[in-house]
């Protein structure tokens, strides 16, 4: 029986993940909150070291409790999994939530056939299912994710699959138990653009069909703009901006989001103009800048930015949250001038 809660399927409140390392304490995730409803896609955007992958691993309960200190609440279907016994989280994983990784080759075992691995994933959570049943379901699923000749392909090994086909097989494996939450960590980064387009379309179609909640983690704003309903921009382990895709990508209010958008080379507009990069480098999580973590790279930083950590506050339309010290009218004016 699946627990049925009110409201969003996944709710994360004030999530903090810390690692103690030789060089000091790493605050990989520092007070992140968000929610995802069934049938919706949340895009988490950030550069390397922004904490986006650590967040997703925490949601799946994949952090080693000996190394990571996790606090806050992660409500999956109304049930808090922070502090839940490893055994119970494992039970949820694969059945209620599943993950797709960037590199399907390292996520699939090289010595077993693709079909066997997917069937195994099914039988773990359907202890009553016979081998034949699992096999049948596997072939069905492989066909569903667009793998031609699924009967034959199921008996092949991962190395016999192309990159795109492997990622499809991973998706089939993730969806075989019809999970309510799917986390995709850079699922298309290793793929060619034409194959990426196929996979993104597939994810969209499958979501309509299975009505799962999806978290898509990526550094690519283009990918986010194509599939996400909501966007969360992370920087230095914190949320910089959060809102609907329209709000964040069309009317962004955080200078970091502006910088990201200005950095992306586009197929339109003046090709001879220089790009507008963000100066400097992403910060190290061990040695995060004081105040607003973005201030050393921000062209609008004030004295206050250097001292106070900005709170994530509502800005503009309902549901749009921004963590920036700039007064809201200034932000709107600066961005309007920039367009």
């Amino acid at each position: 029986m699946r627990p049925v809660g009110d409201g969003p399927y996944l709710q994360v409140r004030d999530l903090r993940v810390r690692f103690d390392t030789e060089d000091g304490v790493v605050r990989a995730v520092d007070g992140v909150s968000f929610a995802v409803e069934r049938g919706k896609t949340l895009g988490i955007v950030g550069e390397s070291g922004s904490g986006k992958s650590v967040t997703s691993l925490a949601v799946l309960g994949l952090h080693d409790p000996k190394r990571a200190q996790i606090s806050g609440e992660i409500l999956v279907g109304g049930r808090d999994i922070v502090g839940l016994a490893e055994e119970e989280v494992r039970h949820l994983r694969g059945r209620d939530m599943a993950m797709i990784f960037q590199d399907p080759l390292s996520a699939l075992h090289p010595y077993y056939t693709v079909g066997r691995q997917i069937a195994e994933a099914y039988r773990v959570h359907h202890s009553g299912a016979s081998r034949r049943e699992a096999r049948q379901r596997t072939v069905e699923m492989l066909g569903r994710v667009g793998i031609p000749q699924p009967e034959r392909r199921a008996d092949q090994y991962p190395h016999e699959f192309s990159g795109g086909m492997r990622q499809r097989a991973m998706i089939a494996m993730a969806l075989i138990n019809n999970p309510d939450l799917l986390i995709a960590d850079e699922p298309t980064t290793a793929l060619d653009v034409t194959v990426q387009a196929q996979i993104l379309d597939l994810l969209g179609d499958l979501q309509d069909e299975f009505d799962s909640a999806i978290i898509l983690i990526t550094h690519d704003l283009g990918v986010v703009s194509q599939v996400a309903d909501e966007v969360l921009v992370m920087y230095g382990g914190r949320v910089a901006e959060h809102g609907s895709a329209q709000q964040v990508l069309r009317r962004p209010q955080h200078p970091y989001t502006w910088g990201l958008l200005g950095s992306v080379p586009s197929l339109h507009g003046d090709a001879d103009a220089d790009l507008m990069p963000i100066r400097g480098n992403p910060p190290s999580l061990i040695n995060l800048p004081s105040g607003c973590a973005f201030h050393p790279r921000c062209p609008h930083a004030t004295n206050r930015s250097r001292v106070d950590v900005p709170e994530l506050l509502p800005a503009g339309e309902a549901g749009h949250l921004v963590a920036c010290h700039l007064p809201e009218p200034d932000r709107q004016r600066l961005f309007q001038e920039a367009r």
Partner: protein, 312 residues
């Protein structure tokens, strides 16, 4: 007059059960100070081409002519003076710098191996180069592990500039970098290209990046050029179906989820071990006819297609 001319360039790798036709007959030229983009998906042979241009790989067939000299099979000693004019920037900012050498030593390497003593000394020249690529010249004695990805890529660029080359092959120079850093490096390369009058062969899978850097663009598919032309021609009026599909596949922030007019190719790129007969793209092409399976379309007027756009 062209700085670099490539004619019928071919590279076949022997493999178990046959031959991988990585590059299968390329023709193109690069003029002095010009930037040519070489675009395509994995397995199209763009990286192999780049390695052949700087003579890290021996071509199986065809000719590479640099400044009117045939360098296709030039030996080590005869190649030396030309190596100084032809340099390469690599994709991986971690693997491309020797972790045991200081940044100063890395950037000075091309000078050292060629026994060049610039006026004012090697150190002064290296510091000038570091400054040129936007690094602190004081960081001369630091090691690569102390730098971020973007800074390392700058070190690689400084090394490529050390011999004052005329042509640089840049093999996916930004694809391993964070988004905000990509833009910094592209801007730097653009600025260097303008200021130093360098010619570039810019290899990338990302058409949007290429658009911001290259004056001309060649689109590759399975070891061949399917379309080549001026940048605006390629981006505004693509004629090869593959070019159209590639452009259409790029997720675009400006479009924000709109899906009209999108072209979706089915399937993956076939293996270069056994490319399709006739036109290599026909297995994924929505315009393919019988003739495409039997006759390979020649590259005429900048496009290799039996049914190019804008022809009917």
């Amino acid at each position: 007059m062209s700085l670099l001319a490539v004619e019928g360039l071919t590279k076949h790798f022997p493999a178990r059960g046959g031959v991988v036709r990585a590059v299968d007959g390329l023709d193109f030229t690069v003029r002095a100070g010009e930037t040519l983009g070489l675009v395509g998906e994995s397995g199209c042979g763009k990286t192999t081409t780049g390695r052949m241009l700087v003579r890290l790989l021996e071509p199986t067939g065809g000719r590479i002519v640099f400044e009117d000299r045939d360098i296709t099979h030039l030996g080590g000693r005869a190649m030396r003076p030309l190596r100084q004019e032809l340099q390469i920037i690599f994709q991986d900012p971690y693997a491309s710098l020797n972790p045991r050498h200081t940044v100063g030593r890395i950037v000075a390497m091309p000078l050292t191996v060629n026994g060049i003593r610039p006026p004012g000394g090697v150190k002064k020249r290296v510091q000038e180069l570091l400054e040129l690529v936007g690094l602190n010249p004081e960081h001369y004695n630091r090691y690569p592990h102390e730098f971020s990805g973007g800074q390392r890529q700058r070190v690689g660029i400084a090394r490529a500039l050390a011999l004052r080359p005329k042509l640089i092959v840049a093999d996916e120079p930004v694809s391993a970098l964070d988004v905000s850093i990509q833009a910094q490096v592209i801007n730097l390369l653009r600025q260097l290209q303008r200021d130093l009058g360098l010619a570039f062969v810019f290899i990338a899978h990302d058409l949007a990046v290429v658009r911001h850097f290259c004056q001309r663009v060649a689109v590759m598919y399975l070891g061949r050029i399917v379309e080549i032309g001026e940048r605006d021609e390629i981006y505004e009026r693509p004629r090869h179906p593959y070019t159209r599909a590639l452009l259409s596949a790029i997720p675009n922030v400006a479009k924000l989820g709109e899906s009209e007019g999108r072209i979706r190719l089915s399937g993956d790129v076939p293996t270069p071990m056994n490319p399709p007969s006739g036109c290599r793209f026909r297995t994924r092409c929505w315009k393919a006819q019988d003739v495409c399976a039997t006759e390979e379309p020649p590259l005429t007027g900048g496009v290799a297609c039996h049914f190019p756009e804008g022809a009917s």
